[in-house]
Structures are given as structure tokens and as C-alpha cells.
């Protein structure tokens, strides 16, 4: 089966971010989305360490240790960008001022529960960062993850077995196989991305998928 690679997934997410949106991209895979935002759309990226209008990575030698993103990578500031302190930054998040956040995940449940901060292993050192704030705060929570675990199990599940980051907070999931909406009555297939039939996707997914083909 030919699946979407990370770049294709990032490009597919980017396609859905509209002109004028305020967006927070999580650490890891979601950060890639920045590279694929359609040219000509003005989209303002927020980073929770206190910056709006995040620009691309600086040229080598141009890095400034005082200008980083939440992943602690050097970034630049676009004209029109601004800086603010941490409490204001999370006020923007919790206060529902961000239109979208894009987060990675270990699991998403059919009800939209998100698990992305803890594997539940008793000896694991827990670390949560801003994930719980983003999960409850952004107007639309988009998740980007591989559809299956290394063992071939679906990461879309009836109930999360890992500790929750947020309850009933995910709106849409982008995987290397499909785009799926989380709605009050369950999971709705939006689009198949991989070279896979609906029946095969349904079998792999484990959780019932609703699908209504465009009329």
C-alpha cells in the first residue's frame, strides 16, 4: 500500500488552512506544515513561547538565540510580527483566539479525546508542555499522525488507552492514509489519501467510519 509520506501529509494539512488564520503548529511533525502553506495566503503562525508572525528558519550563521520557537529551534519574525510574555501567549490559546492548532498524537478516540503527552508507562518521566492548553483552547484542533502503530494497530480508537491530553477536543485527523472528521455521531471519512480501498481502510481503522460520497 502506498501511503502519504510526512511531506505529503504536511502539504495536505496546509491546504486546509485558510487566508487570515492564526495557527499554532505543535512540535515535531506539525512543524513541517509551515513549509507547505500555500503561497499568497497570509497566515499568522503563533508559537507559545511568545511570538506571533513566526517566519522561516534563518540562514546559517543568522540564528539569534533570543528568537526561537516552542521547539527551541531558531526562527525569524515576519514584518508585522510581535512578542509578548508567556501568560499573554497562553491567554491567546485558552481564550480561543487561535483559529487552528495542529498537534501530533499517540491516539485519538471516536469521541475526539486526544492522547499525546504520556505513554502511561509507570517509569516514564512525564512532560506535558503546552499540549493541554492547545487542546482545549484552539477553535479547531487538527491532529496529524501516522494511522497505524509500528505493530499495525489503529491509533484511532474507541477509547484512548493512554492518559488523555484533552477530552472531546479533536476536530479533524490527518493520517498517512486518510482525512477523518470527528463529529458528535462518530468518525466521518473526508478523503482517502493512501492507495487503499474504503473497505480496507475500515478494516485497518478498527473504529467504524461513516462515509457519504459527494453527490
Amino acid at each position: 500500500m502506498k501511503k502519504f509520506d510526512r511531506k505529503q501529509m504536511a502539504a495536505r494539512v496546509a491546504q486546509d488552512i485558510p487566508e487570515g488564520a492564526y495557527v499554532n503548529l505543535g512540535i515535531g511533525l506539525p512543524t513541517l506544515v509551515a513549509d507547505y502553506l500555500p503561497k499568497g495566503r497570509e497566515i499568522i503562525l503563533h508559537s507559545e513561547n511568545g511570538v506571533l508572525g513566526v517566519g522561516p528558519r534563518p540562514a546559517e550563521g543568522e540564528e539569534d538565540e533570543d528568537l526561537i520557537n516552542a521547539g527551541k529551534e531558531p526562527v525569524t519574525l515576519l514584518a508585522g510580527g510581535s512578542y509578548f510574555h508567556h501568560a499573554d501567549s497562553f491567554g491567546m490559546i485558552r481564550g480561543q483566539h487561535l483559529d487552528f492548532c495542529v498537534l501530533g498524537a499517540f491516539q485519538v478516540s471516536a469521541a475526539g479525546d486526544l492522547a499525546n503527552w504520556h505513554t502511561g508507562a509507570p517509569d516514564a518521566i512525564p512532560a506535558v508542555g503546552g499540549a493541554m492548553d492547545l487542546a482545549v483552547g484552539a477553535k479547531q484542533v487538527l491532529v496529524m499522525m501516522e494511522h497505524l502503530t509500528k505493530e499495525g494497530k489503529s491509533k484511532l480508537v474507541e477509547r484512548c488507552s493512554y492518559p488523555l491530553t484533552g477530552a472531546r477536543c479533536v476536530n479533524r485527523v490527518y493520517t498517512d492514509l486518510a482525512v477523518i472528521d470527528v463529529k458528535p455521531d462518530g468518525l466521518h471519512l473526508v478523503e482517502i489519501l493512501a492507495d487503499v480501498s474504503f473497505d480496507e481502510l475500515q478494516r485497518l481503522n478498527g473504529v467504524a467510519l461513516k462515509y457519504r460520497a459527494a453527490a
Binding site: 513561547n49 528568537l67 526561537i68 508567556h86 501568560a87 512532560a127 493541554m132 482545549v136
Partner: protein
């Protein structure tokens, strides 16, 4: 004459006692007051409770303070890093207590302390294990968790420029926790790149007014 300038970091940190709660600014290296932390290590205060977003990286700064066995408890949002080995070792050995706080809740708890707020309800972490045992309330159909302020005896922060009244201007994302920690601590000690005469900072660009600052040290 008000003069908050201190000649040396040693003088500015001389009175930090054992058992103090110390906020340390910075997010990664941006805004981390590395020289003040070095000085705190040399000063010798122990049994400290530290508030920071992380739990130190590699062998310098906060990581070195932890590695030196001076920290009893840490409140942070993201201790686990590829190079947080000093924290990892002491935490696993049960020698370092961790209070894990979501980053926005951490910031708001610090802000609340400085603003004289007795606590607040936040939607963050509702329904998760980080809300276990905490008071919750449904307000207008949304679920919230009650959180308390975090006060500190000292805040060690880094700013870009300061005058002798303690007015501060920051640089780029190095601002992060500085302004809210400055307000939440009884004694805020600031490491700055440059000190200037009164009036040289444009009042429109002062981010932390001097009322929140006790001591300023110019350090490179």
C-alpha cells in the same frame, strides 16, 4: 536616591536562604539568566524549590543547579529532554520532587500570584490525570479546574536593558516568563546586557515597570 544596580551577582544573591522558592526565567536558553544561576550554585543555598518551564539542559545553568543536589522540588511543564540527564537521574532516584503543570497553567499561576489573585478556574487539563484531586466547576456549560497561584521568594530573570529604578526592556522571545515572574516574587533579581540612565528607556517600551524589580546586575 533609588539605585537597584548591584555591582556583582554575588552581592545580589547573597541572602538567598536554604529552602527558598526560586523562579528562574527562560524557555530553553532564551531568557535564561545563566550567570545568576552559576552564582546561585556558588552561593550554596540548598533545599530549593525551583519554578521554570523545563528542568535544565546538559550540564550548565539549571541542570547544573539540579546536578549539584540543591533542588528539592521543581515545578515545570516539560522536564524530559534529550539532555535532561541530571533531572532524570535524581527524579528516578526519588531525590527530586516534580510538580508537573501544563505550560499555560504554569504561566497563569505565576501571573495570578503577581496580580494578587487567590486562584482561578481554567479549562486546561479537565478530564486528565493532571486534574485529579482538584476542585472542578462547570461554568456556562464548560468544565474548569481550580488552580492556585505560585508565589516565590526570589525570581532570577534576564532582560536586555534596565535603568536604576529597575524598569526593564526585553529582547525578542527571551521575554517569555520574565515579566510574570518579576511580579510574582518578593525579590526579583535581573541579569541585563546593558544598564542605561533614567529616561533613556522609552516609557512606551518598558515591559516590566521597576516596581516589580529589586536588584539589577549588568552581566554579559
Amino acid at each position: 536616591m533609588i539605585d537597584k544596580f548591584f555591582a556583582t551577582p554575588e552581592a545580589a544573591l547573597a541572602d538567598v536562604p536554604d529552602g527558598a522558592t526560586v523562579m528562574i526565567g527562560g524557555f530553553g536558553n532564551a531568557g535564561m539568566p545563566a550567570r545568576l544561576i552559576d552564582c546561585l550554585i556558588a552561593q550554596g543555598a540548598k533545599e530549593l524549590t525551583v519554578v521554570n518551564n523545563n528542568a535544565g539542559n546538559a550540564d550548565t545553568g539549571l541542570a547544573a543547579l539540579i546536578g549539584a543536589g540543591r533542588v528539592r522540588k521543581i515545578l515545570c511543564s516539560f522536564p524530559r529532554q534529550a539532555d535532561s540527564w541530571h533531572f532524570d537521574k535524581l527524579y528516578r532516584a526519588g531525590k527530586l520532587e516534580l510538580e508537573l503543570v501544563p505550560q499555560g497553567t504554569l504561566a497563569e499561576r505565576i501571573r495570578a500570584a503577581g496580580a494578587g489573585i487567590g486562584g482561578f478556574f481554567t479549562p486546561t487539563a479537565f478530564g486528565t490525570r493532571l486534574a485529579e484531586g482538584k476542585e472542578t466547576r462547570r461554568i456556562n456549560g464548560r468544565d474548569y479546574v481550580f488552580e492556585l497561584p505560585i508565589h516565590a521568594d526570589y525570581a532570577l530573570i534576564k532582560a536586555d536593558r534596565a535603568d536604576r529604578w529597575g524598569n526593564l526592556a526585553y529582547r525578542k522571545t527571551a521575554r517569555n516568563f520574565g515579566p510574570i515572574m518579576a511580579a510574582a516574587a518578593k525579590c526579583t533579581v535581573v541579569q541585563v546586557r546593558e544598564t542605561v540612565e533614567l529616561g533613556e528607556l522609552d516609557p512606551e517600551t518598558v515591559v516590566t515597570p521597576g516596581i516589580f524589580v529589586k536588584r539589577v546586575v549588568k552581566l554579559h
